[in-house]
């Protein structure tokens, strides 16, 4: 019995201060700091970057990194400053992934809510489609879309959204199935609340946690997908500051200028790691079943 008392003890305790709560949450400070830096770079790229990312300076081409204070991370074949291109790359990354993620989340949530709550044939049809999308590797679906719509940022965004919504739909549907027969939903039905209102006021608030966790876990995958598509030359035009494109350009100078490919890839890895760590933390924090294990 002793093991079950802490719940009671907790209620008797004095209100916890904000500082204490933050301390108890054991926030992953390093990942958060990395993500804040990236967001800061993206927002204020023109102020942070030492050079124009598109400005050529052929006299200083292919400068190695850490050799001059002018170009800390070296320059590429046209003398563009690598550090500046990386900083602007953060902006590009957010500009492409954020809107496509938002669309994917919205679409996935709506499909999941409708499918889970309405059940019957709508559920069967929607889930068959969801499974079909989930059944294929994202890169294949993305390639198919880009083939028929053509290359370009917009189409890459469409491709990302089109491959990512399904995971959200599946998860949300599962959550809805678990809560749809609970008392508060049934009572609302008896009371005559319209289905739309039940979904919005009673179901949706209960899936927000899942939504947040799934989002933070997926962001890393989406960044990798976007980088891969850029690398394959399906997104932005060559010369634009996108991390995937930078690595692709570095590929042509493997032996002469290793730094062109090294740094952008390193940045992608670190950012994805930061998102993954943050996602893991958020899952442990928001899911009480896992919290005690952590």
């Amino acid at each position: 019995m002793a093991a079950e008392t802490p719940a009671l003890v907790l209620e008797e305790r004095a209100p916890v201060s904000m500082a204490q709560r933050i301390k108890d949450a054991r926030l992953p400070w390093v990942p958060i700091a990395i993500l804040l830096i990236i967001i800061f770079c993206a927002a204020f790229a023109n102020l942070v970057a030492p050079h124009d990312p598109r400005a050529n300076d052929v006299r200083n081409k292919l400068q190695p990194p850490f050799a001059s204070s002018e170009h800390v991370l070296g320059t590429d074949r046209l003398g563009k400053d690598m550090l500046s291109r990386l900083i602007f790359g953060a902006r590009t990354m957010l500009q492409v992934t954020a809107p496509s993620m938002i669309v994917a989340i919205l679409a996935g949530t709506i499909v999941g809510l409708v499918s889970g709550y309405s059940g019957r044939w709508a559920d069967s049809v929607l889930m068959r489609i969801t499974d079909a999308v989930l059944g294929f590797p994202s890169i294949l679906v993305a390639l198919l879309i880009v083939t028929y719509l053509g290359t370009g940022v917009w189409n890459v965004m469409i491709a990302i959204a089109a491959t990512q919504w399904a995971r959200f739909a599946r998860m949300i549907r599962g959550e809805v199935l678990a809560i749809r027969d609970r008392d508060f939903v049934v009572l609302a039905q008896i009371y005559g609340v319209s289905p739309g209102m039940i979904v919005w006021r009673h179901l949706f608030p209960n899936v927000i946690n899942t939504l947040m966790v799934l989002t933070s876990v997926s962001v890393g995958q989406v960044i990798l997908l976007e980088a891969s598509l850029s690398f394959l030359g399906l997104g932005l035009a060559p010369g634009d500051p996108a991390w995937g494109i930078l690595v692709a350009e570095g590929r042509e100078f493997l032996t002469q200028a290793w730094w062109i490919a090294l740094f952008p890839g390193l940045v992608i890895t670190v950012v994805v790691m930061a998102f993954n760590f943050f996602g893991d933390w958020l899952r442990d924090y928001l899911d009480p079943r896992l919290r005690r294990a952590g």
Partner: protein
């Protein structure tokens, strides 16, 4: 069991038909292939256009065209590649062995590296080795394949010159002759490792947690109490049971590898279906893209199907669902 298999095959067929419909339908949604194929000199000549349409069967109703497409797809007949000026079927038959070799090598590496590392880090929990494995797993899941590939090329092919950087060597087709084997393996090492990296990481985590669970069970403790050596207990009693979910995952990832190889094939100029797909995408070569996607998709569905059925045999709970 029979119901399960029949249901699972039905689902697989349905997905395959959905895929073919999407692939076929998107050509029609996004433009008129007959007009696209017109030579520039005859662009305004409607009679040439009509003849072209009839030649490709594009004047028939949608459903008839779709049916013809399906019948031909079964024989891998996707028409002529626009750029290579030869049948897509021919290109596919050349490319499929390369991709399958790569996928098999990737799976072997993923299981061969991931499983032992996972087991060892479970047995040596919280030691330096466990921590190193964990860091490797975190890195493997976050690093973009194309970047790891390039870095490995720089180090192993460029700096040290130990391994070839590109291509498949003098290998063609399915089976190497005895003398070709060393060269073939040398060309396979880097691409297969890159392909396997993320899966190694996932398998390692999976094997570790499954192993930890099993190590805690009564029968393992009993075996230890009986005085059996650690090696026998770990590898014979514990690992065998811990590995069932891991092997399944390995099977599913083989299915993924058949497709995940687009990026890897491009970086290593590996002459497989993935490279063929990207070449097709970049040159608006619809027949080639259709062929490559249909083959990859069908391979994926089939592998997943086989894995699911095997899993159903291994674990009765799966069939009950």
């Amino acid at each position: 069991m029979t119901t399960y298999i029949v249901r699972r095959i039905g689902e697989g067929l349905l997905t395959l038909i959905a895929l073919s419909f999407v692939v076929f339908g998107s050509v029609h949604l996004t433009g008129d292939p007959a007009r696209f194929l017109l030579p520039i000199s005859a662009e305004h000549d409607e009679s040439v256009y009509e003849a072209q349409k009839a030649a490709y069967g594009l004047d028939k109703p949608f459903i008839v065209q779709y049916w013809n497409f399906l019948i031909k797809a079964v024989r891998l007949d996707f028409g002529q590649s626009f750029t290579a000026r030869r049948p897509v079927q021919e290109i596919l038959l050349e490319r499929i062995p390369a991709t399958v070799h790569l996928a098999i090598a990737g799976t072997v590496l993923a299981i061969g590296i991931g499983v032992p590392l996972g087991i060892i880090s479970a047995v040596r929990r919280d030691t330096v080795l466990d921590k190193v494995c964990k860091i490797f797993a975190v890195f493997g899941m976050a690093a973009p394949q194309f970047w790891v590939a390039i870095m490995l090329i720089i180090v192993f092919a460029g700096y040290w010159g130990w391994l070839p950087a590109f291509g498949r060597g003098d290998m063609t087709g399915w089976f190497p002759s005895w003398s070709q084997i060393p060269n073939m393996l040398a060309h396979l090492v880097l691409p297969a490792f890159v392909l396997a990296l993320a899966i190694i990481a996932a398998i390692m985590r999976l094997a570790r947690s499954a192993m930890l669970e099993v190590l805690d069970s009564d029968y393992v403790k009993f075996a230890q109490v009986k005085g059996m050596s650690d090696r026998v207990v770990i590898w014979k009693h514990a690992a065998r049971n811990a590995l069932i979910p891991v092997i399944t995952f390995g099977g599913i990832s083989l299915a993924g590898l058949l497709n995940g190889s687009v990026v890897v094939e491009v970086v290593f100029a590996w002459p497989g279906v993935g490279l063929m797909l990207l070449e097709g995408v970049l040159s608006n070569n619809f027949p080639q893209v259709e062929g490559a996607i249909m083959v990859s998709g069908a391979a994926y569905i089939l592998t997943a199907l086989v894995v699911d059925i095997l899993y159903g045999y291994a674990d009765p709970r799966v069939r009950m669902n």
